[in-house]
Assembly symmetry: C3
């Protein structure tokens, strides 16, 4: 297993390269690691070719970026071996932001720029490789967002831009103003919506690869006790047995087989879980196996 | 309050200018005004900068346009100070149209032209500033509608064209054939659908401002006794208290804050209600306040 | 009735001409005809101007194409008087395909080409006039499908290409890569979805005519005993009485009146049923009649 090497993907014509498996830092502060342990975790991920790390300003109650930056400061030369992704646009009610009285969005140019600059300070880096608008904001001005992105790019603070949880049409409206590198959306065998609404079709049409959050459905694939969860778990396990691959690897492979070239995020602090995700880049399911899992996910056969 | 002055908006690149608040004439015949009283109402609206008047052939059982025209005939010089909007395409079962045996649509070129010409006679004017297709017709031919519009324009009878209650895609299909000035749709804190389906996103993308009917939800915002109505009313009232603004003004301001630049219609015969709408052009809500009303409207926080 | 002659329609700018009524061969093997009887049936259809015959690899458990080819071999000169349509992309669990363990899709270039070549052998012809992808496949690569289509065209094996059961956006994504001749979808007074979702609007916008499967709702229009079925049947019967036309003809005329220029398929083995469909090309409903059937179909009047 030590020779596992995660391939890289160019997500769009604008040239952003990310590792096919992206390390999600959402829960890093729940892993209860010391800064040297965090650095060790990052180095293990890099050694497997997992070079892309996914953040957001709000993760860990506005705390994860600083924890990552603290570790990175122990070995600053690692910065050139990795891609750092962050997000902005949500304002959480949080002890760290006493001014926020209700969870809401802010996609004004001033907030986008201030949030990105704050992320840079927390992460102890001079640039982000990718900055995403976290959620589609009913008050967003497409022109203003594109303008803020352009200014961040000109100032050398952010190299590529994207969105998260956008519909096909919201993506295309912003993409007409500034070329977007990705749309990071939820997908798993327990959340197949973007396969059947226009999200993935639209991205494939444009040649833009989605990033995928919660590919394991937040763990419900392993322990969900509802009917759908049990049915899907059994189908995945059968394919895992047939292929002699770990359960988690089969889920990641099932997602990566989609033609839009998805880049799934890991969420676990167990480095072994990252390894299982990377292992999924080395095999694929037969079409029959792929549709067995889809049938279990939807509860019915294709028409 | 006497110095209130409603701003104007250019709705699309084709250059139609309307007042940001549009006086909806739908129920004018229920106001039970004499022609001189109607003229007085119109003059009071104009004095506030509310220069756009929204009609449809069918309003008041095919009767409102004539009532308006009767008032306008008392002071024909007012025509140059106003914009007149009308609609066509619905055939109502009505004592005024004994040939109609079922409510249906007719978007044939011949009906569009005949209906517009009839509106001109009723309104006692030689041109409409804006003509809308009232509802998307399952039998509509996009080419035929565009052809009828072009002919009305060439004949000097209608200056700009639009639609009402069209989906994003229906709008774009017709807009590819002839540039449309607006899509008049329903929106209020009790009807937020166009904020989340593609309607407003699509119009913002194209730089076309929507017109909004029933911004006060037909009065249900004031007196609806269901759970949603009570919850939304309380949220609006709290913002009204915070801003020291009338309840109705807050609703109009909430809608006008949307990035697609909506032009809300009034519906009331009380000139004070029009004044409250115009007052809404002079302030805005904080983002927190805006999202407080949205949360009440949807019954849940944003993700 | 002997002088009935079905008109032809050019379905898209690429120039495919089909008869307005298309003979659906789906259930041909259930008609229990000998090869000479099948030939006679085909000749009767051709004599009415029904020159287009709709197949799929999977019809009749992978058996109908061979039955048709067997009849055609009795009179090979008929080939030049007809258009043959087939489909590919579904893999059925069938005694004829023991390798298939689950119903699934395959839109890989290799399967599309192999399936089309197999259809040619079964149908005993050297080319298809039209080949459709039978269902949208979550694993389809738009580029690969377009590539397979181009190769089949260059090899002279298929002249035009299309899809079936695709959404507007799936259609447009593939159509941007290779011009598509049609989208064959379900529509009837008991299945009005494509009238109100974007399917027909999108095809009208592009000038592409849809083909329609199950225009008679699989017979439920005649004998369905649910409330909707009874209500729609009564509305159709009233129009049939008013126009002095057969019930089935009214249904076909109602569909063909849609502005996207639909080409409905027949499904019956009774040549009289084909005649009733062709007769529908010779009259139309009044708008009031058309909306009477729509109201019955939806259970409510238009807004």
């Amino acid at each position: 297993m030590t020779d596992l090497s995660c391939p890289a993907v160019v997500t769009y014509a604008g040239g952003l390269t990310l590792s096919r498996i992206v390390a999600g830092m959402w829960r890093m502060n729940e892993w209860h690691l010391t800064p040297p342990q965090r650095l060790d975790w990052i180095e293990q991920a890099l050694a497997m070719g997992v070079t892309s790390f996914d953040h957001a300003d709000i993760y860990g109650g506005y705390g994860v970026e600083a924890s990552f930056g603290e570790a990175l400061a122990l070995q600053p030369s690692l910065r050139d071996q990795m891609q750092i992704v962050s997000k902005c646009g949500i304002k959480l009610v949080s002890a760290a932001r006493p001014a926020h009285t209700i969870q809401h969005y802010d996609t004004s140019a001033s907030h986008i720029i201030a949030s990105a600059e704050h992320s840079l300070r927390q992460l102890r880096t001079d640039h982000l490789d990718l900055l995403l608008i976290h959620r589609p904001d009913p008050l967003m001005h497409f022109d203003d967002i594109a303008g803020a992105f352009e200014r961040l790019r000109q100032d050398g603070k952010v190299r590529h831009f994207g969105v998260s949880n956008f519909s096909r049409h919201q993506f295309e409206s912003l993409n007409r103003r500034i070329a977007l590198a990705t749309n990071q959306v939820e997908c798993s065998p327990l959340h197949v919506a973007p396969i059947f609404d226009e999200t993935f079709d639209g991205l494939q049409d444009l040649g833009v690869a989605p990033m995928i959050w919660s590919p394991l459905a937040g763990g419900r694939l392993f322990n969900g006790d509802d009917a759908a969860g049990a049915r899907v778990r059994a189908a995945i396990q059968q394919v895992a047995d047939e292929l002699q691959r770990p359960f988690g690897s089969v889920v990641f492979a099932w997602i990566m087989q989609l033609p839009s070239r998805p880049l799934p995020l890991t969420g676990s602090g167990r480095i072994e879980a990252v390894r299982e995700a990377v292992a999924a880049t080395q095999f694929s399911l037969s079409r029959s196996q792929w549709f067995e899992i889809l049938r279990a996910a939807r509860g019915h056969e294709v028409a």
